[in-house]
């Protein structure tokens, strides 16, 4: 039995195909049940995000790839031939390693993004709810989730902002304790400025947002959208005293926030920090404003540099995460190997013990003349002999498990000792 994976992602398939396979709008339980009945997977889970759909399963079948391809083609309403060009499939350790990398964010469009970890958790939950996750899939996902968390806490793979808006929010949080206690002033109605204001609001920014635009109606519309207040364009210098975060994104050909205006505002602000986010090109804020005390001025290039630094930092951390994944992968494989050979070893030991018991019972009358102590010696000798006889087999199984060949050896040993006849073996998996 082995762990298998078939899937597609943003790296292999266009969005038109990805959306056809997405679980969005479908019942995960029905899809999982349908998957299991259509493909004879013993256990299965489907990881479905906007960037990937991957099926993880546990199977004994040799033609699992064909089965899964047909199932996915039916789900996507496309021909298997068309889908095949965009699919990847792995079995055993590569399949497990792929899931570890996905969970850590190494396979994401933006390396280290954190949403994938929550989606992996949801995948496990859905499989449990649909009753398609057995011990192996459950334990695999538990290991993967723990590893994903570890990657984010022990490395900096998830640190830093990866967009202009996020960079602005991140900087605002480095200046202000709680964004909800501060007023945001949006000057101009540029798309990035609006996006940044949305991000600040989504992050719990000011209950009131002030919007200032040359066209007052547009300012009112935006203010209504943000639940804030509109200001006439000529009154924005006054707002510089009230607001702690100012986002400028006008199309003005010259600077609209001058050093002099800021000096006046700073006098009234009495040292309260002022964060100026100038996303406009040409710039809206005079560059010399950045030299004023308690003013932190970031223009579009500064924010882009923050993003580039974050992305570069994440790429640099990827190596550390790969090492960490290999460490966690080994732990999972150890568990899998133990699970693979342990029941068989236990059964061999029981078999050896039963041989001794049977022999003792057979010799019972013939040994009756011996003292209790001598009978114990005979029993001990019998046990030593049988244990020595089965020991090479046990060691061989353990070595085979360590070399990743446990599955085949277990089958051979079980045939030799006829263990399959006495009772059903527990499911074993190959990772």
């Amino acid at each position: 039995m082995r762990i298998v994976l078939v899937g597609l992602s943003h790296k292999t398939a266009p969005v038109q195909l990805r959306e056809k396979l997405s679980l969005y709008g479908r019942s995960p339980a029905d899809t999982l049940q349908g998957l299991r009945s259509a493909t004879h997977l013993d256990e299965c889970a489907i990881l479905s995000t906007c960037n990937r759909t991957e099926i993880y399963g546990l199977t004994r079948e040799e033609d699992w790839q064909e089965q899964l391809l047909e199932f996915m083609a039916r789900q996507a309403h496309v021909s298997p031939g068309h889908l095949q060009d965009h699919l990847y499939s792995f079995e055993g350790t590569p399949a497990v390693r792929h899931l570890f990398r996905v969970s850590a964010g190494l396979d994401s469009m933006v390396v280290g993004e954190g949403q994938i970890l929550a989606q992996v958790k949801e995948t496990l939950q859905a499989a449990q709810d649909a009753d398609t996750a057995g011990t192996t899939i459950h334990t695999l996902f538990q290991h993967v989730i723990a590893s994903g968390k570890r990657a984010r806490t022990e490395t900096e793979i998830g640190r830093g902002a990866v967009s202009i808006s996020l960079a602005a929010v991140q900087l605002a949080k480095q200046i202000f304790q709680r964004l909800s206690n501060h007023v945001v002033l949006l000057v101009g109605a540029g798309e990035t400025g609006e996006q940044t204001a949305k991000m600040l609001l989504a992050d719990g920014a000011a209950p009131q947002i002030l919007v200032c635009n040359r066209t007052y109606e547009r300012a009112e519309a935006l203010a209504q959208q943000f639940g804030g207040a509109a200001l006439p364009y000529d009154r924005f210098p006054e707002a510089l005293v009230r607001a702690d975060i100012v986002i400028t994104s006008t199309g003005a050909p010259h600077a609209i926030v001058t050093v002099e205006q800021l000096r006046q505002a700073l006098r009234a602000r009495r040292g309260r920090p002022l964060f100026l986010i100038d996303i406009a090109v040409p710039r809206d804020v005079e560059p010399a404003a950045g030299d004023l005390e308690d003013v932190y001025l970031y223009n579009i290039d500064d924010l882009q540099a923050v993003v580039a630094e974050s992305l570069a930092g994440r790429q640099m951390e990827a190596g550390r995460v790969e090492e960490l994944i290999e460490e966690d992968l080994r732990k999972f494989q150890r568990w899998l190997r133990d699970r693979e050979v342990a029941p068989t070893i236990q059964q061999i030991q029981q078999w050896a013990s039963s041989v001794v018991d049977a022999e003792q019972a057979r010799l019972g009358v013939q040994l009756a003349h011996l003292s209790e102590r001598d009978r114990e010696k005979v029993e001990a000798a019998l046990r030593v002999v049988t244990n020595r006889l089965v020991l090479p087999t046990i060691l061989h199984l353990k070595e085979a498990a360590n070399s990743g060949n446990g599955y085949h050896e277990v089958e051979s040993v079980r045939r030799i000792y006829r263990l399959n006849q006495s009772d059903e073996a527990e499911p074993e998996a190959q990772g």
């Binding site: 480095q174 200046i175 202000f176 009495r270 040292g271 005390e293």
Partner: protein, 289 residues
């Protein structure tokens, strides 16, 4: 070796290891180091408590507040407790990279003292504890406030110069640093006020008129005035930001001078801070004339 000496030595080691861990977290971004630092300093506080308890048992009948060597140990103890509190309540590890080395230095300095260097202070009676204890706690609070002020200035500089990689992301926000410093300075100021009031009562009884001309008393009053101005500027005038942090830095320098004033001026009515090893303190801070 006495249990007391072993525990004080172990405390020193734990503060040192905690300092190293805080630095490793701050500069290398290791979360393991951060967790280790938090545990080490907490264990350090526990061991330090045991050491102080052992001291009390071994020196039954005498007060540790009469032993200037113990003052340093208590200052280290209070700094470590405040750091544990900040780490626990606010999740701030970065101030630990400044405060724990200072706690380590204070504890190290306390251990340098010759055993039995306790000085019979002129100030005595029931007012000794209400005078010395608040002063030492206030000193520790001002130390932490100073650390936060330094962090504020460093972080503000990094934001200005747009060097916001690695270390920067592990610092608390500017505003919360400022709030934390304000909170600590308020504690320090309250303690200093209490210490000055109780000290003046003792001094008036012991030395009579003219007691306030003592160099440490005068310097302490200057420090008190600086912190009063700081709190006034924030609460009455609404000041915020960098300008308030300058008060904390200048105030702390004056607090240090007040604490060591009797080394520079041995004729102080206060006892020397370092007992018979005042020479060492002098070498560290101000040269004897």
């Amino acid at each position: 070796m006495k249990l007391e000496a072993i525990l004080f030595g172990l405390t020193l080691l734990l503060y040192f290891l905690s300092s190293v861990s805080y630095h490793t977290h701050l500069f290398a971004g290791s979360d393991r180091a951060r967790r280790a630092a938090t545990v080490l300093v907490a264990v350090g506080v526990l061991v330090h408590t045991g050491a102080i308890g052992a001291w009390c048992v071994n020196h039954r009948g005498s007060s540790m507040l009469r032993d200037p060597a113990m003052w340093f140990s208590l200052v280290a103890y209070f700094i470590a407790i405040l750091q544990v509190g900040m780490d626990w309540r606010r999740g701030w590890a970065s101030p630990g990279s400044l405060s724990l080395p200072l706690a380590f230095v204070a504890q190290f300095y306390a251990l340098l003292q010759t055993p039995g260097s306790a000085v019979q202070t002129p100030a005595g009676g029931r007012l000794l504890s209400p005078h010395v204890l608040p002063i030492l706690l206030g000193f520790a609070a001002f130390t932490l406030a100073f650390c936060l002020a330094v962090i504020y200035l460093v972080q503000s500089r990094m934001l200005k110069t747009k060097r916001i990689g690695g270390l920067f992301s592990r610092l608390p926000s500017l505003e919360s640093v400022s709030t934390g410093a304000h909170w600590l300075a308020t504690i320090g100021f309250s303690m200093l006020t209490l210490g000055i009031v109780t000290g003046s009562l003792v001094a008036h009884q012991t030395w009579g008129p003219g007691w306030y001309l003592d160099p440490r008393t005068l310097t302490a009053l200057v420090a008190w005035a600086i912190y009063a101005a700081y709190l006034g500027a924030i609460m009455l005038m609404g000041w915020r930001g960098r300008r308030t942090t300058y008060f904390l830095i200048v105030g702390y320098v004056v607090v240090l001078v007040a604490f060591f004033a009797s080394v520079a001026r041995p004729k102080s009515v206060h006892p020397p801070v370092a007992g018979v090893d005042a020479r060492l303190a002098g070498a560290l801070l101000v040269k004897h004339k």
